[in-house]
Amino acid sequence: MTLTLTINGTSRTITCEPHESLRTVLRRAGCYSVRYGSDTGETGAAAVLVDGRLVSADVMLAVQAEGHRIETIEGLSVPGTLHPIQQAFIDTGAIQSGYSTPAMVLAAKALLDRNPNPTEAEVRDALSGVLDRETGYLRPVHAVLRAAAILRGEEPASVDVVHLDRLEGSGTAHHDRDGLAPLAPRVVPNSDVPATRVVGHAETKTDAVKLAKGNPAFTDDRDLSGTLIAKVLHSPHAHARIVSIDDSAARALPGVHAVIHHGNVPRVRYASGGQSYPNPLPHDQVSFDDKVRFVGDRVAAVAADTEETAQAALDLIRVTYEPLPAVFDENEAIRDGAPVIHDEPDMEGAHDAAHNIVHHIEARTADVERGFAIADRVIERTYRVHQVQQTPLEPHIAIARWDSDERLEITSSTQVPFHVRRMLAPLLGLPVKRIRIIKPRIGGGFGAKQEMLIEDIVGHLTMATGRPVRLELTREEEFVSSRSRHPQTVTFKTGVDANGKLTAQEMRVVANTGAYGTHGLTVQMVTGMRGLSSYNCPAKHFECDVAYTNIPVPGAFRGYGAPQALFVLEAHMDDVAAEIGMDPIEFRRLNWTGVGDPLDIAPQLGEGDPEAGGMPIIASSGLEEAVLQGERSIRWDRRADPGWRQPANRPHIRRGLGFAMAMHGTAIPGLDMGGASLKINDDGSFNLLVGATDLGTGSDTVLAQIAAEVVGVGVHDILVYSSDTDLTPFDTGAYASSTTYISGTAVKRAAEQVRAQIVDRAALLLGVPAESIDLHDRAAWGPDGRCVTLAEIALSTLHRQDQHQIMGTASHVSPESPPPYGAQFAEVEVDVETGQVTVTRLVMAVDCGVPINPVTASGQVEGGMTQALGYAHCEEMVYDETGRMVNPAFGPYKIYRADEMPELEAILVQTMEDSGPFGAKAIAEIPMDGVAPAVRNAIADATGVRINRIPLTPERVWRALQVP
């Protein structure tokens, strides 16, 4: 049928099917800012204004919009201008990936058009229907309040860095603020850090404008005519052999162009984890197998003219299965007699496939038995951590096509374009040189996209049809057929002497890697590394079995084994402190690692080479200061205030505070590599080409700041183009908290080469020695105050005299992985009648070296804590007895919304890490580490109940409270 819609003031006649949603129709009409988040209206990514009110376009029938006024963000501002709300989102750092920013801006507009002076609570309510997985909502809330102030004609508050006084050695001062944390990033400066012009400042993101405007920038915003839609047929069985597949009816359906499955796709072994060459064993996957190993495993894929036809074709594929017994629990899976999940003869590289043991990992620094023998107390507890999903708001999506040179070009929402290219080549039977991977803007990844997950499917289908093919996972598929966090059962045993010093630590892990190994080895190695690095202890032992089971596949998830380890370690340290009657922070302080201490378990777990004398030594730590800052902000002294702990007017409420220490790594030493190249343009601007993959984290901006600092320009004079395997240098990709540290150093080196060439030409033009020249404000300055602009230098070198392209190319790999440290605090209220926990405040003080951009760094902490809070409190993948996930949708799978958030505070404690660019260490993952144990310890503080599993759902807490 045809309908006439008034979109952004223009009347448009559109053809559509009567059942189509307004989102589908608006996207077809070119409003790419209306985005897919799910089919259920829960994410709000497709929110638009209808008659000035916010509606979810995914659950509104397009036809019902006829006669109403529809506004999308495309209508908010013309090219070259910004609406004040958009400007406020940019200025406050409220945009990370920007996938849901258009929806938030519209939600803000709907509010402010009616209420020019909203309260914080009203802003939170207005944003509550737009889920965000990245910012923790703090900056978006500030953005709306700021926009309101600007629209009222008021002067908005400054966004620039606020310096806090150092507390170490000065005694704890009192903290007197509650409520919305200030917008300006809070930094505790360090006198060792040299002054800089661009680095360390609150620069706005280089990609913020296009994201604030909702310009086409994501994979799905490419408009390729003739694109076929791919759909995947998933296994309904947790474990089964495929006896036969009859695809004849599907092939015969008009509009179907290809059907692929194990019968017509070559069997090539691979491991899907996006990791450096050679991919760690086991190589236990093939594109399509004759066996399925979890509900949601791949069976077949089709490419068809429309989504409807593709779906209809799936329904016509006749598959005969021979169901096999399945096993879901990691401990049961490794017992004798459990069903064998990988029994295929060409399986490569599992430790003991007959017992479903993919890997057995052992690491020890000394004899722990002796350590336990000399201990005053030995305490042992078992903990369980569960499975959660990354839930990037943008699901996995890839579009493949043959380019004019008949090379396969795949645009993909991936964190690892270079790994994908390399891993894809053998599966498709193409040489690497005939594949190009382009990563546009992506709507979050969190590790789920550190995987070659769907690119082989679109590749096979484009090769089979010659046509462009698009595959986007639905929200349900994103839950079930993507990746997730590894569940683990962990037994931790600690020996302490009479003074509270550790004598031995032992960590025994059974980890669940689901149906495939992918990141199973390396995630669990990080678990060992993180579980046994925070504290000094003369004897440490790590033992881990990684089990195959029939659950959907865990993989990389922000934190990568560390959140599991640190939940266990920090819950356990709290338990030990309680058992031996010590203050939980004092007990940790007595044992925690600091500058000069060795990371003694590291060489055993593949980091640092002991043969080469390479015991890693900690070179910087701001932990002590971080703990003091956190104690002050959370008002730790209230633990001793009975009136606060048990409010008189709310008899069923108990309050408590909890602490957890966090320590992480920065990149994989000796392995993670990043490259960069920088060249000057006629006007003294620069193109920066990097392989590094910005997932919305702001890494493009941070890298631009590093380059800008070195060559003496502003951040917006650096034009960043990132991660396109044809055009940019190699980079391992966005994982392991490596981008700032590794790719940043590569950028710094390339920029230093450029700087040297600029200085040479400036010396020539100014007639002064090169050593005397300084670069700043887009010019080269001689000692006498004369200058020549970079534009003049560019024109001189490109056109006039001794011509050459001023450019530099460099790469970097680090032998070290300097640990960032964090102090995580949580304040909770427990309703002892229902078990409902309300987390009222989260504070994290982090030592990330020198934060290159304090706004994006604070955003990482705020958003990371929020994601970690979901892990602690309410997120969980739940299965029925057949292995089918019962909650693959937002809602039943609960993530925090703007109106449910605790107060958040991020404090950045500077240290000077000499091995990092301008002193930087990592920040991206450490905020995932401390929240779960801090909340758990706060519940213990409030109620005395120590709970050894997460998430801390009302029922779990209530049940724990019932145990006498």
Binding site: S21, G44, R53, S56
Partner: protein, 294 residues
Amino acid sequence: MQFFRPSSLREALEIRAAHPEAVPIAGGTDLMVEVNFGRRRPEAFLDISRLPELREIRREGPNVRLGSGVPYARVIRELPDQVALAQASRTVGSPQIRTRGTVGGNLGTGSPAGDALPVLAAYDARVVLRSSTATRTLAWRDFLVGPKRTALAPDELIVATEWERAVGPGSFSKVGTRNAMVIAIAGLCLQLDEAARGVRVALGSVGPTILRAPEAETFAAGILDEVGAWSDRGARVPEEAIARFGELVSAAARPIDDVRGTGAYRRHACAVLATRALTWALDDRRAAAMEAAS
């Protein structure tokens, strides 16, 4: 596939009679989820979102008549004195769902987790149904006949719900992982009726359909009578009696184990919600009594 867009109720009912296969769509917030998932692909839609007759709120004396097409956002703005209903409306979904979603749609879906439904049950509301030839008015319990099953005939539309406003405190509350949760572990509405000296309590999400708790209601009304609280709003009700009320409410629940919680826990949650709701109601009355006295 056809799409009907009548502009009056009469026209709509005629189409309904001629095309019973056409599925009525109001805000679409329930229906579109089904359609997007391909679980439902109706042969035809009947768009009832533009019928002025369904978008009316009428009040005559104590009687309230709420058009089936009124979205939650308007309930919140226009019926603030129907405290429990406004509270329930505020917990539905998110702002953009409240812009479109209607109470009529909540009834039409008839899910035991529909947030407006326990309130309508506690209000003793009636559902007004009309076809091109007749009008029927059913008590809520005769309309909500089972899990996602209603008494709607294929040629009928829900035009309104109506109730007599009870004078007395009322509240809606739910327990979830967080304060708001798309589907609650348990939802409860309590309404006191001072004139009839009655206590009404209804439960959502803890049975195949919305449940009232008659034993608990009788017990509570009796206790208030015993302590003289109906005539003296300041009179105290013993804690044990309130706890007993909670137990009786909990006994009326028929929850199952599911992803949100075990049946046992949800039963317990009902008891807590009930004791709290009654405590708030009694506190409200006491506060009002004190104010009146001063």
